[in-house]
Each structure stands twice: as structure tokens, then as C-alpha cells.
Subunit: 357 residues, 3 copies
């Protein structure tokens, strides 16, 4: 890794992106930056219209934007219907992943029976155990531990200090941040009187292709079967994935969330930060949980789901909690009112109105 | 570690488990699996009656079940009053922990003054500091760091990349998953004007026997006294235990929970996932918190405690939050109704019913 | 690290603290302890008046307390208006940080182009990449990984197994606990049909002076600009700081909290445990969130903010959740009552009271 960048000319950049452009095709670009921080060699972007005022003052060399905003653009422009996606592509073009240096550092400890592709890089102080398989162009950064029988697909990158416990399967083009632990034992015990008897966890973890795993995230191995993270899933930092969980294709999960054992999450879901789910649930495809949602039941319909009460001034919160605790009393008072009103009406009904008396 | 398994014959297995069986005692068994995935050499189990329909179709070589389900069992059976516990024992018999290979890897860095039992294994790139003591048959996996003066009791297993900070005491038969940090400094500061002055944390962490610690879990050392995790406690992944906390015997805590400093948790408690407790609380024995509970006060009575509102469709949630914010208004309206109804009744009382007029 | 302590005489201790004392100035003190556990060579303290009864029975050699409590003190006393702060200073005097041993362990892997100050210590199995700069008296504990181009200011201490990803800037006197990951990639993707396209994260993380980072805490690098943790910020364990976040001076954050991307937190804030904030918020100076607060909006006024309903017995909780779900029905019933009462009153108004009829 590193922030090394290339130089590209505007015309060439537009060609590679497959988009139209305005401005001098020979203009040199070599950085990306926000509208306010960009200089003449920077590409910037406008995705959210509320930043349009920054557009007018930008010193960027070129701006990625939609044709509707071209009029206010004081510099060269790359035109696209989806500025965020096109800008992501610009960043990828200007800041390519560094080449993986084939070979291994002399401080790495690699078991004889491990199969390491000659184009892979095994970094300093890495430990690779028996029968592990490391694919082509895989980058295993410093301090990683690759357990017995693990398999890592080609072009995957383990940044540093990643632990794969025995038997973990990682697909192609994975990106795994430091401190992640994949394949630790699930939390499985049987009650034995007052004590807990550990149930050996013999399933594995399998990650599909294009999976990303954040820093210090933990994914437990299955109890009997696999824990399965499907193709294209993106997991942020400090997430817990319990044993036997499956996460469907292209689902993205923000930091600090926890998925309890044996829960199945569908495809194309988004899980906000610090969401918690109970175990053994089924979450449908295209379900979206907002941050800190507490998910206690299966969700069968696509849609957005939420829970929690947003923070408020402490005094107000104390009163709100007290009122919530008085809800039963409020219900009783409403019931009493209904009965009281009913009896008043009955009495009234027994008494003919004036004029009929 | 690894998923290597033994072969056992049905009769021998039943003898070792101390249970009755049905079927050919010579049948060979060497795996465990779910009812639906089992083959003729697999032992499976039926604990939850709702899976009984899977029993009828299983191809398992033998099934652990209660005598009440024997009738529907199409294969050999191991009979027990507690199928989950017996099945846990089957898994432990078929998948024994691998023997700890005595010795140390040449890449390990072991201080001269450390005392390592000759039957212990010190893995690659491990660092063991001065005066640490490593007991008999202890497994210290790759990348672990064992600080000055730490003591690890016999038969304990540190899977990989575990950090024990200076002076940490680990009992016998511990199982500590990768990335756990035990004995980091507690979060202790005194206000010094606008700044914070660190209070050196000089207490230790002590783990009893048979304690398990999950991946990337952190247990802080005491400020002055010990942080104490009693015998048989099981901690899942990504848990935070603050300084001076005590956790009583056989308490189990699910992932992502956080126990603030100086809180004392009793024996035989279960703490669901992502539970948070305030500091300086006393939680009695046999207390159970459901997932995401917010514990702000001491709990003196055994029982189950909960908080939080389960996730609901976002539109409904927005209305619910708005209504909760209107609770004071609702109370005022109820009060106004009570007063209004009262005055209507008073008026009615002043007016004699028809017939008396 | 370690718990080694010095010996000081009472008079000398008082002089160094700049406080008055009562008792024999020659009394030797060499430890600190709570009032109940102290012995004659221990210094203890009384900050919270509710522990005054322990003062009467203490066997401490000296007690730090406010002059108002001197009368009940059975032993020597160090007098101060702020016992907690003065005691913190006592602990720092009696338990000084060990000297950093200049040099590097032979198992460390240090790039040729890295610049390491001769007074710094590079511990066993440390990896330091190209062009990193390690300042004077910096302690880099076992298993740390210091990425390309990182800079660590003088007198900082990385306890063990810390990862600094490329380009991370650490100020002076930092204290970083084991397992922390600073500078991992932020969670930044653009939608590309059903798939997610990673946006390379090219910003850095910058920590000011006197910053502390807890065990297994993760701080993501900026997307384009910096993630910035200002001077004097204290972060507890297992915290997530998203990309582009800024945390203002002297703000302290308790364990398990998560700050979503691009949020800006002010100075002198305190963030309780397991607080979650949405992204792109602005939190003013001197804002305090209590534990588990869910922060969905910017906060412009100083003060204390809270959310969440404290745990209650499970049966009561079930009823409370049901009642909250019936709030719309309650509002309808109140409305019906108001209408009903209104029409009763109208009828009554149409009917003159007895005597006028």
C-alpha cells in the first residue's frame, strides 16, 4: 500500500473512464481532492448538489460532475450520470494498487507442506502453517498468521496482522484489514450442571470473491457446517459474525455490528453501524437496518427497518424514561376515562333533552 | 488445532459416554454432522423437537436423542436425557484436541529468566518476556506476546496473536482466541484543568481455571487491585471488560458486550450480545440480560432483564419516536380529560335525573 | 512496563506534590492501595465522602484527602483540594514509567530507509517499513507493525502488537495499547449496479500530542483528507473511528463507541461507552453523551445528552414494548375521548340546569 499516484492527461482519463469531457485534453492530472482543497493537478467531484457553491470557487484541474452542473463549472469537466461511481474509478486509476513483489521475507516462517504461488508475497514475521495454499499475486502483509489448510484465492491482500485459523477459505480479490480474526472458534457450549462444556467447533469459514473484512473484525468458524460470507460482501471494522452465519452477496455491514449464530442475512442488504441481531433469524434480500437497530425477529419483506430513540438532552430523557415507565398507568387512566365518559353518556341518554321533558 | 477426527465403534462410543444405545455395536463412526448432512459414518443429534421431521430422513450412522424420540429413528441411536450435552461429548471424543508438541520454534524470542515447562509449546514469532512462567502442556500459538511476570496454568491454549500484558495470571485449561488483549491499561484519568492526567494502572488481571476468552476481546488490568475473571467464565468475541471488574464463576457473556470499570457480576449469569453496563454496579448471581440490554443500576434479584425496542419498519419507527416525544403532551391531554370529565360529572350531579325533576 | 515502584519519604513526597502534610516526614512510602487494602508503606486516598468509614479503619501509611476530612484520619495525611488528581500524581511518582532501553532487538525487521532515533527501542518481531521515522525515546513493543512513511513523535509508547498503516502520524507522548489499528482503510464504496466498487482511501490519520488509544481500537484513514485526533484525546478500548472524523482536544471516549465517517466532535467532550453516532454530524464543544446514546443529529449546544431505556425485568419490558407499539391506539383513544367529552359538554350546554327549565 501507499499513496503513490500516476499522472494522466484529461483526454486519456476520459477515454479510460468512457465519459465525455470539457476542457484541454492535454491537461495533466495526478491527484484527487475535495472541491475546496483541490489544486490545478487535482481531479475533484460534485455528487451532492448542496456543495455546488464549492464548485464555483474550486481550483481543481478537472471536476467529475453530471451534465446538469456543467454550466457552473469554472474548470475542465468529466461528464457522467453517476459522479460518485465515476470519481471512484478516477481514484482507482490515479492511485493503483502497488504491484505485489513476488517472494518472501527471510523472517517469514512457512511450513514445508504449504503451497505458495511464486508470484505471491509473504511479508516479514508471517507464519504459514501446514498445507496452506496461497494463490497467485496474493499479498500477505507483516505479522499475518495463516493456519493449517487455509486457502487464499488469487489477488487477495491481507494488509497486516490478520489471523486465519485452520481451514479458512478466502476467495479471490479479498481485502482484509489488520487485526481481523477469521475462523476463531464459535461460542458453543452445552450446560453440564452449573458448568459449560465446550462443543468443539469443526466447521470452517468460507469467504467468496471480492469480500472485504475490516480491522479487528471477527468471523467465527461454523459449529458443524460452514460460516459463509458470499461474493462481494463488505464488512467494516469491529464486526462480530457468529458461527454458522451466512451473509448474502453484496451485502454491506457498517462497523460494530454483531450477527448472532446461525442467522442468515440475504443479498444486497445494508446493515448500519452497531446493529445487533439475535441468532437463528432469516433476513430477506434487500433489507436495510439503520444504525443501532435491535433485530429480534426474522424479516421477510424488503425495506428499511429501525429501532432506538435518538439522544436528547438528559433532563428531557429522564422525563421520557419516567413517562415510558408510566405507560401502564396512562392506559389505565384512559380506560377509566372511557368508562367514566360512557356512564356520563348513559345518564345523559336516560334524561330527555329540554323541550321533550 | 485442526479438524482431525478419530474412528470409534458405536458400542465403544456408548460405553465411553455412559449411555444406552440401539443398533449394531460394530458400526464405525468418525464424524459429526447435522441430521440433513450426515452420512453413514456420522453421528448426528436431535435436541430440538421441531427438527424431528429431519430425523426420519437422516442418513446418519447414529443419532443422539432422548428415548422419547427413539421410535421415529431410522438408524442407530445413542439414548440420553440431555442430547445436547451428550452430543457435545461425542464431538469431543471424535475430535480430540491435538497433542501439544513439546518445545519451541526457533523464531520464538524467550527471555532467559522466563520459566517454560518442557512439555509446553512455544510457537513461531512468539515473544515471552522476563520472569514469565509457562505451565505444563501449555500451547502458545504463533505471534503471541507474553509480558513480564505473566503466569499461564497447565493445559492452557493461546491460539495465536494473543497479548498478555505484564503480570497477567491465567489459570489452567484456558482457551484464548486470537487477538485477545489481557492486561491492557484501564481507562483511568484525573482531571487536571482541561487536560486528563493518566493514573498508572498497577493492578493485574487474574483468570481462573477453565476460562475462555474470545477473539479480539479486551480485559483491562486493575487500577489498584485485580480485575478478576472467575473459574469457568466464558467470554465471546469483541467484549470489553473494564478495570477492577469481577465476573463470577460460570458466567457466560456473548459478543460485543461491555462491562464498565469496577462492576461486579455474579455467578451463573448470562449476558446477551452487545449488553452494556455502567460502572460500579453489583449484579447478583443468576441474572440474565437479553441482548443489547442497557444496565444502569445494580440488580439484586435473580431473573431475566431486558431493554430496547425491537426494530420495526422505518415509517412506523419514525411515528413511534414522534409519539414517544409527545408523551408529555399525551399526559397533559389525559389530565385535561380527567378534569373535564370531573366537571361534567359535577354538573350532572347538580341536576337530578328525569322523574325527580 | 511493569509494576516496579520507588520508595519516597512522606516529606519528600509532599514537597514534590506541592501539598501540605500531617505526620512524620521520615515515614517511608512505596506503594499505593485502597483504604481497605493499604498497609503501613502504602499511600491511599479519600475522594468520595461515602468511603469515609473506610478512612477510620485504614492501616495506610498516609492518606491523600481534603482538609475537611483530616479530623477522621488515623494516620499521616497529604492535604489537597483535589484528592483524585493529587493521588494520580502520587501513583505517577511511585510507579514511574520504566526507562526506554535504547536499541533494537535482533528479531526486529527495520527497513534501511527508516529513520530510528538512537534513543528509541524497537522490540522483538517488530516490523518497520520504508521511510518511517521513530522519534527520541519512543518505545515500540513486541509485534508492532509500523507502515511506510509513518512518523512517531518523541516519548511515545506502543505497548505491543499495534499496527500503524502507511503514512500515519503519531504525536509526542502517545500511549497506544495492544491490538490498536490506526490507518486502516475507511469504509468507502460506490454503488456499481448491484456491486460495490472500493474507493481507494488516500487520506491519512494524524494523532496530536498526548493522545491515548485503547486496546483493539480502530481508527480509519481519511478518504481524501485526514482523520484527525487532536491533542490530549483519550480513546478507550474497542472504539471505531470512521474515515475523515475529527475529535477535538481533550475529548475522552469510553469503550465500544463508534463514530461514523466525517463526523466532527468538539473539544472537551465525554462520550460514554457504546455510544454510536451517525456520519457527517457536528458535535459542539463540551457535549457529554451518556453510555449507549444513539446520536442521529448534530448537537450545537453544550450539555448532557442521553438515550435508551434502562433494563427492567423481562416481563415488564415485554409489556412496555407492547404499550409503546400501542401508542398510536392510545392517541386515537385520547382523541376519541376528547371528542366524546366535547359532545357531552355541547349537549349539556344545550340543556339548561334544573330550575331554569
Amino acid at each position: 500500500m501507499g499513496a503513490g499516484s500516476l499522472q494522466l492527461r484529461l483526454g486519456e482519463l476520459a477515454t479510460r473512464l468512457g465519459v465525455a469531457f470539457h476542457g484541454d485534453p492535454e491537461r495533466t492530472l495526478e491527484r484527487v481532492a475535495t472541491l475546496t482543497q483541490a489544486d490545478e493537478r487535482s481531479v475533484s467531484f460534485l455528487a451532492n448538489p448542496k456543495y455546488r457553491r464549492h464548485l464555483q470557487e474550486t481550483r481543481a484541474g478537472a471536476v467529475v460532475l453530471s451534465p446538469t452542473h456543467l454550466e457552473g463549472c469554472p474548470t475542465a469537466a468529466l461528464l457522467t450520470a453517476d459522479p460518485q461511481l465515476t470519481f471512484a474509478r478516477v481514484v482507482r486509476l490515479l492511485y493503483p494498487e502497488p504491484e505485489v513483489p513476488a517472494g518472501r521475507h527471510p523472517s517469514a516462517v512457512v511450513a514445508e507442506s504449504a503451497r505458495v504461488h511464486p508470484s505471491a508475497w509473504i511479508g516479514p514475521t508471517v507464519v504459514i502453517e501446514d498445507e496452506a495454499e496461497i494463490g497467485a499475486r496474493v499479498f500477505v502483509g507483516p505479522g499475518c498468521v495463516i493456519g493449517k489448510g487455509c486457502v487464499i484465492g488469487e489477488d487477495s491482500r491481507l494488509v497486516a496482522r490478520v489471523t486465519l485459523c485452520w481451514g479458512t477459505l478466502v476467495g479471490r480479490r479479498a481485502l482484509i484489514q489488520p487485526g481481523a480474526v477469521i475462523g476463531g472458534d464459535g461460542f458453543g457450549f452445552a450446560r453440564d450442571g452449573e458448568r459449560w462444556l465446550r462443543i468443539p467447533q469443526i466447521g470452517r469459514v468460507r469467504l467468496g470473491d471480492d469480500v472485504e473484512v475490516g480491522a479487528n473484525t471477527t468471523i467465527d468458524r461454523g459449529a458443524l457446517e460452514e460460516t459463509w460470507i458470499a461474493d462481494g460482501v463488505k464488512l467494516d471494522n469491529l464486526i462480530q459474525i457468529g458461527h454458522n452465519v451466512t451473509v448474502g452477496e453484496n451485502t454491506a455491514m457498517a462497523a460494530c455490528s454483531g450477527i448472532s449464530g446461525s442467522t442468515r442475512i440475504g443479498r444486497n442488504c445494508t446493515i448500519g453501524g452497531a446493529v445487533g441481531t439475535a441468532g437463528h433469524l432469516e433476513i430477506a434480500d434487500n433489507v436495510h437496518f439503520t444504525g443501532m437497530a435491535m433485530v429480534t425477529r426474522s424479516v421477510t419483506e424488503p425495506g428499511v427497518y429501525s429501532s432506538g430513540i435518538p439522544a436528547m438532552p438528559n433532563g428531557e430523557w429522564r422525563k421520557t424514561v419516567a413517562r415510558i415507565r408510566r405507560l401502564d398507568e396512562m392506559e389505565r387512566r384512559i380506560k377509566a376515562l372511557e368508562e367514566g365518559l360512557g356512564s356520563v353518556r348513559e345518564q345523559a341518554a336516560m334524561r330527555p333533552p329540554v323541550g321533550y321533558g
